[in-house]
Amino acid sequence: MATNKLIVTPPPHLRAKENIPISMRDVLIALSPAVVAALVVFTWNALFNIALCTVVAILSELLMRKLMKRKPTLNDYSAVVTGVLVAMVMPAKIHWVMLVIATFVAVGIAKELMGGLGRNLFNPALFGFVFVWLCSGFIASWAGNLGILPAGFDGAVAATPLAYLKHGTFSSMPHPSYLGLLFGHPRGGALVEVGSFWVLLGAAYLLYRGVIRAAIPTAIVLTVLLLSYILGKDGVYAILAGGVMLGAFFMATDWVTSPMTLFGQIVFGVIIGVCIVLIRTYGAPSGAVAFSILIGNAFVPLLDKVFKPQRFGAVAAA
């Protein structure tokens, strides 16, 4: 009898076929349609950015964990996910130095310095993005005019479709149609702005696989849609343009930095949606989604407490 090899652990003794690497791989699979679309539109530019960010993300994690004397955790794929996300939210024609800084801040500071995956309060990719966005001196647009560009670098990029949203009908500015926003319009800013459809395709996969739940993205999208109309803007345009879809389905749903209960998630989504519309309308035309999600992240500990579920059989305090 092979009884000497029996393993003794506490129950339960069965497990669902899921773990963190499987889920992170699912996120990468879900990002792939948008990544492919970006590669088609931006070609070598996109390839370079994504590869660079991924490598820097991995190196940052290795370095920081070494410095902090922690076990390496590369095999959870979370660094790769963050790297790809940073590349996707950054303008295509941004200087590589910016990409390196953004990725290092994302993985090295926003994640590892906070204690590693699970302990970070803010979405790492967005933290890195916003850091660079602010530090490069309020870049006038997504044009890529960052001041440190080497000679010969093509900085002329089409005006971002988001400018249209802030200024309303802008006769001098041709803006993409809904279809253009869904399936890609020529070089209009960040990699991910190659078309919301590709992002949604990946989102459907994440929902199907149970990696994310529908509450947060639904709340964000509906809030942006309705509030935009209330403020006299084109709501459909508002949800299709910019990073709303990527933010709603891939960033705001980040496990670590979102609330854990259904009601908490709905309120979280509404907070983010309101912030997006207000920032876009009264503030900067771009970067609104990133800022809004980071603001939402700050509410998470409170939302978890306030929306703690009523335990089974407990009577509500009258």
């Binding site: 009898m1 003794h13 773990n19 930095t257 335990r311 089974f312 059989g313 407990a314 009577v315």
Partner: protein, 439 residues
């Protein structure tokens, strides 16, 4: 058919693997060379031995008893000779004083006294349950006569037989319902009489429709008994979940089912009560499912209490493949065994042998707040926060997040992508909170 099945909110769908043994009729397990009968097999006070080494015992003879109300006597499961009384590790690893019996080569059948069960009073039924050593046979082993004595101000109007058998792999209750439906209905009627309930429900999960059909025909002439079908979901058979699914009544935190007028009993216990009442037979044997991909011929065995696991493994054709985990009980709540030496007790529903392909031992990592544990918790707790509080030794916080309300079904750990053993942390928190309250 399209009608929605009764159920609760939360829970999981583990791989059930019932087909390994659900078609196997109950067979008698062989009698081992030596039986180890622990003097505590139940929640409550341990028994004091009534026999001494060298004594001859008869099958069904009482060999241990306690004065305390919350306790249950134990009986010899074979006729034989008491070899010794010593401390032996039970299935949890705890050292329990046990009576070791060497069985006679020739086993006589238990000879009881037939009794008319029609006119037994509540008092008599409780006495019969106690004398027969009845306990809940689903695993927790709570003394049955205590359950049959609900507080006077909380009248019980409904007795529920838990025929869910929601634990994966186990089929002992399924076989009992299928093979002995009349006895189960009789047992249910006795339970109803014992607590003065007008109504009885047998709740069966939808993956045992053959058992449900058998019970429906067995109870056709009993207007007060009905058979209800429940969704196949774990932990459908947890007391509070089952009561809610069938009646919509919610047992408040920290309270017992009698709070909402219910009594829940296990299939095996109800049949054992019928046997005890009609013949005087005490609880000295039970059906144990021996199954899993790690045994050759899975089956359901009528097993004498005190039989070592190894005897049952042999009865099931021995180990096969690469047995990696040997579990006493079901795979969601049972106890992993270091060897096959532990003895079957009254609460042993199964012996499950898992092979390496079913054992996923990932390394525990930091919680990533995916909220899957919150989604599946049938008690609507936030298991991750109980774990966090336990890690930080913040026992007041662990209690605030509901550690005491957790009944350790294990759904959270089943679904956790970070391999966090929540149940282990909760047990630690419960022990610490209890210790603090004693002070």
């Amino acid at each position: 058919m399209a009608a929605e099945l009764k159920t609760f909110k939360g829970g999981i769908h583990p791989p059930y693997n019932k087909e390994l043994s659900s078609g196997k009729a109950i067979a008698e397990a062989p009698i081992p060379d030596e039986l180890i009968i622990p003097l505590q097999q139940h929640i409550g006070a341990p028994c004091a031995p009534l026999v001494s080494p060298g004594d001859k015992v008869k099958v069904g003879q009482k060999i241990g008893e306690a004065e305390a109300f919350v306790s249950a006597p134990v009986h010899a499961s074979v006729s034989g000779t008491v070899k010794s009384i010593e401390e032996v590790a039970n299935f949890t690893g705890a050292m329990v004083k046990s009576v070791i019996i060497t069985p006679d080569p020739q086993q006589e059948a238990f000879s009881g006294t037939p009794r008319d069960t029609e006119n037994l009073s509540q008092e008599e039924l409780r006495g019969i349950a106690r004398e027969a050593g009845l306990v809940g046979m689903g695993g927790a082993a709570f003394p049955t006569h205590v359950k049959l004595t609900p507080p006077k101000e909380k009248p019980v109007d409904l007795v529920i037989i838990n025929g869910c058998e929601c634990e994966p792999f186990l089929t002992c209750d399924h076989r009992l319902m299928l093979e002995r439906p009349e006895d189960l209905v009789k047992g249910l009627k006795l339970l109803m009489r014992a607590v003065g309930a007008e109504k009885g429900i047998i709740g069966v999960e939808a993956n045992k429709m053959d058992a449900a059909d058998a019970l429906r025909s067995a109870s056709a002439s009993e207007p007060s008994v009905s058979v209800e079908i429940l969704e196949v979901k774990y932990p459908e058979g947890a007391e509070k979940m089952l009561i809610f699914a069938l009646t919509g009544r919610k047992v408040p935190p920290g309270k017992l089912p009698s709070e909402v007028g219910c009594l829940v009993q296990n299939v095996g216990t109800a049949i054992a009560l019928h046997e005890a009442a009609s013949t005087g037979k005490p609880l000295y044997e039970r059906v144990v499912t021996v199954t899993g991909p790690g045994v050759k011929n899975p089956g359901n065995f009528l097993t004498r209490i005190g039989t070592p696991i190894s005897t049952l493994i042999d009865a099931a054709g021995g180990f096969v493949g690469s047995p990696t985990k040997l579990i006493m009980g079901g795979p969601m709540t049972g106890w992993a065994q270091p060897d096959a030496g532990a003895a079957v007790v009254k609460g042993t529903s199964g012996v499950v042998v898992l092979t390496s392909d079913l054992v996923d031992l990932g390394e525990e990592s930091e919680c990533v707040r995916c909220s899957k544990c919150v989604d599946v918790c049938p008690m609507f707790l936030m298991p991750n926060f109980i774990v966090q509080a336990t890690k930080r030794a913040q026992w007041d916080k662990a209690e605030m997040w509901g550690a005491l309300d957790c009944f350790e079904c294990g759904c959270c750990s089943f679904t956790c992508p970070a391999y966090i053993p929540h149940v282990d942390y909760v047990r630690k928190a419960k022990a610490e909170i209890a210790a603090l309250k004693k002070k």
